[in-house]
Amino acid sequence: MAQQPGNTHKKFIAIYDELSDALFRHCVLRISDRERAQELMQDTFTKTWEYLAKGETISNLKAFLYRTLHNLIIDEYRARPRSAHSSLEQLIEDGYEPVDHCGARTEHSAEARIAVEAIQKLGESYRDVLLFRYVDELSVQEIARIVGESENVVSVRIHRGTAQLRELLCA
């Protein structure tokens, strides 16, 4: 990022506008708590900003944000053992304002329901990499660095996770 204060500010806010939804979605699909997910998403940005404010530079901001979020989620798991698939309905319903999705609403809900159910049935390690790869569109290398595994392990997980997801979807 450019190191001039004004520039970095604007760029960072632009990144927020671009990625906040994606980060929130990633978070909520893993911790099933909408409010908390929003907080963690916020924290991701503030923590990243703190790092930048110290004068550090980040070459891959998207990956950095996701890594920060990933770590926050892990902390969340430790602090609060998850209750099973809570507020699945909440998850889906709250995302919509009548204004945005008038007619298509019912259709999307159904798809979303299936999708979320499936994703929550997957094992954690599969689910995470699938989210990173297909929903957040990160590269295998980036994912490997975020989760702290080798690229091979990540690749294999993606393959197997996809296979399992197929089963769930077709069932």
């Binding site: 990022m1 450019a2 190191q3 001039q4 204060p5 520039n7 970095t8 500010h9 960072f12 806010i13 927020y16 506008d17 906040s20 939804d21 979605r25 909520v28 699909l29 929003q38 998403m41 916020q42 940005f45 503030t46 900003w49 703190e50 930048l52 404010a53 004068g55 070459s59 891959n60 998850l91 889906i92 709250d94 995302g95 919509y96 304002e97 945005d100 999307h108 798809e111 979303a112 329901r113 299936i114 999708a115 979320v116 499936a118 994703i119 929903v135 290398q141 490997a144 660095r145 080798s150 294999v156 993606i158 393959h159 996809t162 296979a163 997801l165 197929r166 089963e167 979807l169 077709c170």
Partner: protein, 465 residues
């Protein structure tokens, strides 16, 4: 559904080849469904406001504010533990009194120069503490680069104040050399550390480039100062320092050659990506420095301006050279070109910064003669020292210092730390080697020498003076 049967059959063979081609309907619907999960407009804006507020409360730190924070760091925020063994002995009352003096002493020491009474504190205590706090090899290396930079800046300010002679120069030069050498060692360590994705090599290359910028920028400034110097002892001292700086520069650039070997083993795709990112950094850097130069043009000399501008031109040329390599798919060479561009641009910026700081010190030099040492009520041209000393008056000067027994990595660092107790600590009476500079003994009543060695060895000598 035949599709499902087909899929079931497929993955019963655990066929990995199809993984990414699996863009069938179910999957697409799945993705679509997933992507519908998002924040409502209201929620998004609320969070946005919070993030923006946070950003305002945490402005980006420049080197000026960083220096302030370093001193503050030492004083109140990070407390290092002097846990000495298992017994606790009550500290003498005089030690407690020492605290009141302790804080402001280290704070004021930050602005000290060779020959000042407090300079030893700046070196051993303040910077020693920073060293302890930097845990990873990377942050240590960055710190050492910064310290080398600091030594050279001190030399330049000394010249301005007509205080550079054989003794002061020798002090500064020795320190500078030790920092530069530490950078080399740490960089080797970094390179070995993270072999996984060659991140170690990249970080090492960056640290190296930083060091080179610092060395080159200062070399130019020092040469310029030397040419305009009228005193012979000053000229000689400068000549010696310049030789040293150049020598370190040679070492730095020759070590760079080693890194290329690490890069050749990278696959083309990764290297290409790395090169592209480096190019962006280079372009950003050049833009930033260009703006900086035009902003500062009025405040610095014509030569400094000219030097900075020539460098910017070279930096742009290096980017062009990099582009040529990219076209030829020589990604490693492209990366190196872009890195060079960043380095040269950084040099340009440093030259201007150094010049600016020197001008300010020059202004202050005459003011110091008029006003008292502690009265920093200057009208214009506040230096870093000014701002810090003004804050000092408002600041309370109590300090708690405890040193962590296990967390340190340097061996045999000698720190002089003033210790506070509200609680009790014990003190051995092991005698450490005497430190040459005991001038600070005049300022405080009690000092404790701490030798931090190896893993968990902490020897503390206590004394009352």
């Amino acid at each position: 559904m035949y599709l499902c049967v087909f899929i079931a059959a497929l993955h019963s063979y655990e066929n990995y080849y199809v993984h990414d081609k699996y863009m069938d309907k179910e999957f697409e619907q799945f993705l679509k469904g997933i992507k519908d999960i998002k924040l409502s407009q209201k929620e998004k804006e609320l969070s946005r406001t919070r993030v923006v507020d946070f950003m305002k409360q945490h402005p980006i730190k420049t080197i000026a504010t960083r220096k302030q924070n370093r001193a503050r760091f030492f004083e109140t925020e990070r407390t290092l533990f002097v846990s000495i063994g298992k017994k606790h002995i009550l500290m003498p009352l005089t030690l407690i009194i020492a605290i009141l003096l302790g804080g402001s002493v280290s704070y004021a020491a930050e602005g000290a120069f060779p020959g000042d009474t407090l300079y030893p504190i700046k070196i051993t205590v303040n910077e020693g503490v920073q060293n302890l706090l930097a845990v990873s090899a990377e942050s240590k290396a960055k710190l050492q680069v910064e310290l080398a930079n600091e030594r050279l800046k001190e030399a330049e300010v000394l010249v301005i104040n007509n205080r550079l002679n054989a003794q002061t120069q020798a002090k500064v030069e020795a320190q500078f050399q030790s920092h530069a050498e530490k950078v080399q060692k740490l960089v080797e360590k970094i390179e070995k550390e993270e072999k996984g994705d060659h991140r170690g090599a990249r970080v090492a290359a960056e640290v190296h480039a930083n060091l080179e910028s610092v060395l080159n920028a200062h070399e130019d400034v020092l040469v310029r100062i030397k040419d305009t110097s009228e005193r012979e002892d000053e000229t000689r001292a400068l000549a010696s320092l310049i030789l040293n700086v150049r020598a370190q520069g040679e070492i730095a650039s020759s070590t760079n050659v080693k890194f290329d070997a690490a890069f050749t083993t990278q696959t083309d795709e990764r290297m290409q990506k790395g090169a592209r990112e480096k190019k962006k950094s280079a372009q950003n850097k050049i833009e930033e420095v260009k703006k900086y130069i035009s902003k500062m043009e009025a405040r610095i000399s014509a030569e400094a301006s000219a030097q900075a501008n020539t460098r910017i031109v070279s930096a742009s040329e290096a980017v062009v050279a990099g582009d040529v390599y990219m076209d030829g798919k020589m990604y490693r060479d492209a990366f190196n070109s872009y890195q060079t561009a960043v380095k040269i641009a950084q040099e340009a910026k440093l030259i201007i910064e150094i010049e600016k700081d020197l001008k300010v010190s020059n202004k202050n030099k005459s003011k110091v003669k008029e006003s008292e040492q502690n009265d920093r009520d200057s009208n214009g041209g506040k230096s870093n020292r000014d701002e810090r000393n003004e804050e000092d008056d408002d600041r309370k000067s109590d300090v708690q210092i405890r040193t962590n027994q296990n967390g340190t990595t340097t061996t045999g660092t000698n720190l002089k730390i003033q210790v506070k107790t509200g609680t009790s600590t014990e003190s051995h009476t092991d005698d450490d080697e005497e430190d040459d500079d005991k001038e600070d003994g005049d300022e405080v009543e009690t000092e404790i020498k701490v030798n931090v060695g190896g893993n968990s060895n902490l020897n503390v000598t206590g004394g009352v003076q």
